[in-house]
Assembly symmetry: C2
């Protein structure tokens, strides 16, 4: 089974300029992810897909195979799925690859790793890879457990409040007459966007998640997704507090579940 690890790293980004190369503890985000991927068991090949020379250069220098992404699939409107399928279509023609990349048919699973989630540890990735290669699941992705009590606004026809812009709400996932205690329920699993493993069969049907789906749980502290300058700053603070290093290995993935 060929499992291709893939980072989609556009040069353009709305928040931080060249976000994928932003420094966290002195190391570019891209390398945090590449180091984790290179240490994990079960990735047959490691790829970085980008439209930006500096990103492709750094990826190549650090042992990743590179895929030059088209301007079309690098636009703000393009989805990750578009970019993955472009990768699957064309990576066999990628240049600068030694040995030549696998043909599209040879890849069985794509492990999409977001380098804006730098605290994915080798243990998280290994757990996901073990689930995918077990044959029991068609897609596996990372989640954070949440005990949120959730509410939703009533539609105008649901409310009797006599105001033009009513802001009446009702509970969605619990009974306010009998509020659950944290220890009495398992909470929800919330996508944290750190990684998605999907069979190529599924991706070719236009889905990242589908068939039999499973998950890998990450603590909230491990789950940060860097979008804004504040997120990047916070990630640096967290790395110092918890001792996260860009070696893919540090950080006890279990004892942090409460954080």
């Amino acid at each position: 089974m060929h499992v291709a690890g893939l980072i989609l790293a556009r040069g353009g980004s709305k928040g931080i300029r060249l976000k994928n190369l932003a420094l966290l503890k002195g190391t570019p985000l891209l390398l945090w992810s590449l180091k984790t991927m290179s240490q994990s068991r079960g990735l047959t090949s490691i790829w970085v897909s980008s439209d930006h020379d500096d990103i492709l250069e750094l990826a190549h220098q650090n042992g990743a195979q590179i895929h030059r992404r088209s301007a079309e699939s690098s636009s703000d409107g393009a989805s990750s799925l578009d970019a993955i399928n472009e990768f699957l279509d064309s990576h066999s023609a990628a240049t600068n690859v030694l040995p030549p990349g696998p043909t599209a048919l040879e890849v069985d699973v794509v492990a999409l790793i977001q380098c804006t989630s730098p605290f994915v540890r080798v243990a998280h990735l290994n757990e996901a890879l073990a689930k995918m290669t077990s044959g029991c699941y068609d897609s596996v992705f990372s989640v954070t457990r949440s005990h949120s009590l959730r509410w939703t606004q009533l539609e105008p026809n649901e409310t009797e409040v006599d105001v033009a812009n009513t802001e009446e709400i009702r509970a969605v996932n619990f009974d306010p007459h009998c509020r659950p205690k944290r220890q009495d329920w398992n909470g929800d699993l919330v996508e944290n966007g750190a990684f998605y493993l999907s069979s190529v069969q599924l991706l070719r049907r236009g889905l990242i998640q589908g068939g039999k789906i499973s998950f890998v749980e990450m603590s909230a502290a491990h789950s940060i997704d860097i979008d804004t300058a504040y997120d990047l700053w916070l990630a640096g603070q967290q790395a110092s507090y918890f001792g996260f290093e860009p070696d893919g290995d540090s950080g006890d993935v279990n004892h942090l579940q409460r954080c």
Copy 2:
């Protein structure tokens, strides 16, 4: 209409010892909340209910009226509702109060403020008080907007996966075949635990939320709820980054919605 602002501040706490007096930017958490409350429009009286002398002393020194909470309602098993109703039952007999506290019947609304949520700003509280005094709602509380994509584990009878401990999941609040973009939906409103305003009528029926219910939205940066030593550390970092001060007033409550 008498709106009694109330902080429930036990001496005992599981995570941080004497959490309610923990220092954030050099100021005890209790005082962050009291300063916000004292500046808000619409609180008729301000109360701190506690079983601990140091907490009651600090509250009294800072202009709050005090209610000595019983050991029973201060136990780990007691709910906030138990403590609020004990306050409503007995606060007219509280000592050290000048002028004497209102009798139970005089209070119309209780505004429960959690001092473990130090970044409640005066503007948040004023918005909640305006909603309650409008007469349109029976309870109003603080929320954070969330765009979480949520999943839940399948029950054994829902899955065909042939393993003893299946970890198959299904989406709860969206269609994975048509994943929503963040800009295309309003997200969920999630209780952040910072404050709850409830009519006494409702509280006497054993409910904190009920009748016509509304909300006040706070940004994620304002919404931190301090439970662990890590949370306290993180709150200190956030206060520095965003310039939050214990004056109840700083921090633009609107432009931070993205954080």
